[in-house]
């Protein structure tokens, strides 16, 4: 299989006023074409940092991050990113937000095509009634859907998603998960998804990377045995429940390790 992205003995440390902070440590794994990788681990452990190296916003301190065999030099439209903070442009309407990428030289399309793509994603994300509203009128969940629509609109082959469904209510969340599966089925993308939901990871991913408390190291890489296309019925299967309790256990251990790390800090302050 074709390797799209590779983390090769990657470590990253930040220089902070309190000293050097190791955030990612000796991480090695490959993401193949068509993979759906879910990264799961306690919050603050370094998942976003790991992803931002592949997105091109951060350089590893040691090791290499490769995309299509070449070291990542910076961000680019072939790697779509959905940020944890959404980053919808407040000065543009909903429709203009979705159209933003399509107005750039890098993904030039005709006006008619642009309108068609916008209308498609407006409908898909349930934002049609708000096409001409500014983001200040949208709820948190709608902003998140807008950010997703804007990223999908330029059709990147590789999607990096940082807890994209975290702020959604349960119903919308499961709708968005199913929608993502459908989009992947028709457009065949490769995905790296950061999540803190074990169910979401199992339901969506082909492989789950469990990372440790900070600094993020690889604790375990687990293949998910369900074939695509998937639907919600797999969540009723005994293998699903087994896998869930196994991963929960791994994540809980790291969560406790993280808590133990934090305690001396809060005492000393």
């Amino acid at each position: 299989m074709n390797k799209r992205a590779q983390f090769d003995k990657v470590s990253l440390a930040f220089d902070t006023p309190k000293g050097r902070l190791n955030v990612v440590e000796d991480v090695t794994y490959d993401i193949n074409d068509g993979d759906f990788i879910a990264v799961i681990g306690p919050s603050g452990c370094g998942k976003t940092t790991m992803m931002s190296m592949l997105a091109g916003f951060q350089k590893p301190t040691t090791g290499k991050v490769l995309f299509d065999g070449r070291p990542v030099a910076g961000p680019g439209p072939e790697r779509g990113v959905i940020f944890q903070e959404y980053g919808v442009f407040p000065w543009l309407t909903v429709k203009q937000n979705i159209a933003f990428g399509l107005t750039l030289n890098a993904n030039h399309v005709t006006t008619a095509e642009r309108d068609a793509i916008c209308d498609h994603y407006l409908g898909l994300m349930g934002l049609s009634d708000f096409a001409n509203s500014y983001p200040k009128h949208l709820s948190g969940g709608m902003r998140q859907r807008l950010a997703i629509a804007r990223a999908y609109a330029v059709k990147p082959q590789f999607l990096l998603m940082d807890e994209p469904f975290g702020a959604l209510d349960a119903q919308t969340r499961s709708n968005m998960q199913n929608l993502l599966l459908k989009v992947l089925e028709t457009e065949g993308k490769t995905v790296m998804l950061i999540t803190h939901s074990v169910e979401e990871a199992i339901y969506l991913a082909s492989r789950i990377v469990v990372v440790t408390a900070r600094p993020a190291r690889i604790k375990k890489i687990i293949d998910v045995p369900f074939a695509y296309p998937r639907d919600e019925s797999i969540q009723e299967r005994p293998e699903f429940a087994e896998l869930r309790s196994h991963i929960r256990q791994l994540v809980m251990d790291e969560y406790r390790a993280q808590q133990a790390q934090m305690r001396p800090v809060s005492f000393s302050e």
Binding site: P75, P77, W91, A151
Partner: protein, 256 residues
């Protein structure tokens, strides 16, 4: 005008009526020498006289033009400089103390020097107003620009934007609100500095009118001048606020 608009207008008018009543009250209370406080109706009559016979409109025009020119030039310079300082951290560390030093100097303190270097005509007043608007505007600009989060730029980059597109489609829209704020602050400071600048032997202008009146102790004329300065500043601010509301409909403000 609809009912709510009328109500707002009435509410806005109320304090003015109150101020005028208070003015009469102070005058009639007997605590102050009546000759030191011209009554509101006397001031109104005087302003009519000045308007029709003494060319008050010319003074207003001359002062407004000076403020406009000073602010326009000051902001024109403050926008790129403030932008650079806000955007490039090293530039800020480098220039911050200096800018704060000059901003802290009251323009009035510079008048003697300005007379020495620029003489006493129009250029001297322009220099003072430029100075006042530039330094007040530059601070607002760079404080605002330095608070722009890199998130939006990152988003644009991941969608494929090049440097020019990021500047045109992300940085400019994010900078416009700060330009408008800088303009408002500079206008306020420039009006405050106007009288000072017109102290430099101005023939005409509201500051000059006040200055001349004070030598002859014409209190009613001084009152007219002060009220004009306040009114014009108020009108300019209102206009700018309307423009701001129009340009920044997208902003998350409780009251626009």
């Amino acid at each position: 005008m609809n009912g709510a608009g009328l109500r707002r207008f009435g509410l806005g008018l109320l304090p003015w009526i109150g101020a005028i009543l208070l003015w009469y009250a102070v005058r009639w209370s007997g605590f102050v020498n009546v000759s030191l406080i011209p009554a509101p109706h006397q001031v109104a009559a005087k302003s009519f006289e000045l308007l029709t016979k003494e060319g008050l409109l010319i003074d207003i025009f001359v002062s407004t033009r000076r403020v406009f020119l000073g602010v326009a030039l000051g902001i024109l310079a403050a926008v790129p400089v403030g932008f650079l300082l806000g955007w490039y951290r090293p530039a800020r560390t480098f220039a911050d103390p200096m800018i704060n030093f000059f901003r802290a100097l009251p323009p009035i303190a510079l008048i003697p020097l300005v007379i020495v270097y620029f003489g006493v005509d129009e250029l001297a007043k322009l220099v003072i107003l430029f100075y006042a608007s530039f330094f007040s505007g530059v601070i607002v600009m760079y404080e605002g620009v330095s608070q722009i989060t890199p998130l939006y730029i990152r988003v644009a980059q991941t969608l494929g934007a090049n440097q020019a597109e990021i500047f045109r489609k992300v940085i400019i829209p994010l900078t416009v609100p700060h330009i408008l704020t800088a303009l408002r602050v500079a206008l306020g400071v420039a009006w405050a500095t106007l009288v000072a600048s017109e102290l430099i032997a101005a023939q005409r202008g509201l500051g000059a009118m006040i200055q001349n009146a004070s030598t002859y102790f014409l209190l009613d004329v001084i009152y007219v001048g002060i009220i004009c300065i306040g009114l014009i500043a108020l009108i300019m601010d209102l206009i700018l606020r309307k423009i701001t509301a129009r340009l920044l409909v997208w902003q998350d403000r409780a009251i626009v």
